[in-house]
Amino acid sequence: MDQTGPVPTDATLRPVGPYAVLVEVGGPREALALVQHLQAHGPRATDLVPAARTVLVDGLDGPGARRSLEDAVAAWTPPRDADMVSSDVPVVTVPVVYDGPDLETVAELWDTDLDGVVGRHAGTPFTSAFCGFAPGFAYLTGLPEHLAVPRLATPRERVPAGSVALAGPWCGVYPTASPGGWQLIGRTDLTLFDPTADPPALLAPGTRVRFEPA
């Protein structure tokens, strides 16, 4: 193939040094879909890392692999349906005690009461879009944009493990105790990250997630 091969219209490729490429896509669902496409049709890579609007393809082994990636991305069609997550993906149910210190703040932001927060949160089907921040910390997408909440102005020095939290349009569960600036609405006893499990992250990218009052 020559250098004027098919130009992708839905994804932009940005080189990241000799062995990696950052592919820009429309959003988290497109990123997940592109990861699935590249797992089946892309060149061999060490890591495929989805994020909010990108997929990082790391550990390509040379210019040939880069051209294969360009071709694979050009041959990809982003999912048109907003709800493209296939229904054969299992759902992880996360039991939550809704007693977080920021529950009232979130109720105010959502213009509802405590039960209203619980109802909306437990009534939302979430999907793990990507992991970051800490091993097993999943960015869960599913909340409508108008329920986005700001981060804390001053992050907490210590957020307990199992804390269920919101920031921006995302929901997340802290796998281990750490500093954190997300709004805490509850807690779960589930183990989010276990290096001896397969997969080690309970909420690996693509996993569907439901919260239910414990």
Binding site: P15, V49, V55, T196
Partner: protein, 300 residues
């Protein structure tokens, strides 16, 4: 690959560890999508040279010794080898060779002095360090806490069966480049860079400024090295969504001071990556002390 460790053939005792001594191997790449950093030795060339000197395979684990000193009491006969920045190597008080295989007899004490320059050395012990692997690696990840704790005085170090027992002197000689610590002689550590994926979010002159300035190492650890110098200005200040980070990424936070990410880097980040350091040059970053000069050289 879980829970239980590798074969334990011997156990050496940590008599004294006043440096930061960590177990490292090639790390755990392939788990970045789960938020797990790659970790692993900071200078693959130097670490692998040490392993080869004692006859260990390239995926064995060894000790990464930062600053300070270390004393180990041997409980059986093994070859050891030290690479990276130079230190005094002694066996029961007698000077031994740096950058070569050294036989340590049972009952002897192997001691390493503090480095004269640079920061880190790699100590391979025949048979390899066989602490239990986590996600396929024995490396200590200082960012997420995966892997074994740093070595403390009194710890017992499990070691595997040496690959080539009975060999008088392994036929390995380490090359000069792998031995040289790099830093500490006044000349800047040179890091070849390629443009990064978000260079276009910085001001037009940022690339020229990045590659012509002599930067000064500020704080540094296994996660990354922060550099002092003229601020690199951002042209685009709208928020950038978090995206995957690579080893060697040169990230520019809002304050304009670049940060070079090393093995324990977070898997995602939200500040623009202006450049990427060639992996082969990152070993030099392992030897930087605060105040050391650093230059970025445009790749090719």
């Amino acid at each position: 690959m879980t829970g239980s460790g590798g074969p334990v053939d011997g156990t050496w005792e940590v008599q004294e560890a006043d440096g930061v001594v960590l177990v490292q191997d090639a790390g755990r790449p392939g788990h970045a999508h789960l938020g797990v950093p790659r970790s692993g030795w900071l200078d693959p060339a130097a670490a692998r040279a040490a392993l080869r000197l004692v006859g260990d395979p390239d995926d064995a684990a060894l000790l990464e010794v930062a600053l300070g000193g270390l004393a180990l009491r041997a409980t059986d006969d093994r070859w050891v080898a030290l690479t990276g920045t130079a230190r005094d190597v002694r066996v029961d008080g007698r000077a031994a060779a740096y950058g070569r295989a050294v036989r340590v007899p049972a009952g002897a004490v192997l001691s390493l002095g503090p480095p004269r320059a640079g920061v880190r050395s790699w100590l391979a012990i025949g048979g390899g360090v066989t602490v239990p692997p986590v996600l396929g690696s024995r490396s200590t990840d200082t960012l997420s806490g995966l892997g074994p704790a740093r070595l403390r005085t009194g710890d017992l170090l499990p070691l595997g069966e040496p690959a080539a027992p009975g060999v008088e002197e392994p036929p390995y000689v380490v090359g000069g480049a792998a031995r040289a610590g790099g830093a500490g002689h006044g000349a800047p550590v040179e890091l070849r860079v390629d443009p990064g994926p978000r260079l276009d979010r910085l001001a037009l002159e940022a690339w020229a400024r990045l590659t012509t300035t002599v930067w000064t190492a500020a704080a540094g650890d296994r996660v990354g090295v922060r550099l002092d110098g003229p601020a690199l200005e951002h042209a685009e200040t709208s928020e950038l969504a978090s995206e995957g980070l690579v080893l060697g990424a040169v990230q520019v936070p809002p304050d304009g001071r670049p940060l070079v990410f090393l093995a324990d880097h977070p898997t995602t980040g939200g500040y623009p990556v202006a450049a990427v350091v060639r992996a082969a040059d990152l070993g030099g970053c392992a030897q930087l002390r605060p105040g050391d000069p650093v230059r970025f050289v445009a790749g090719r």
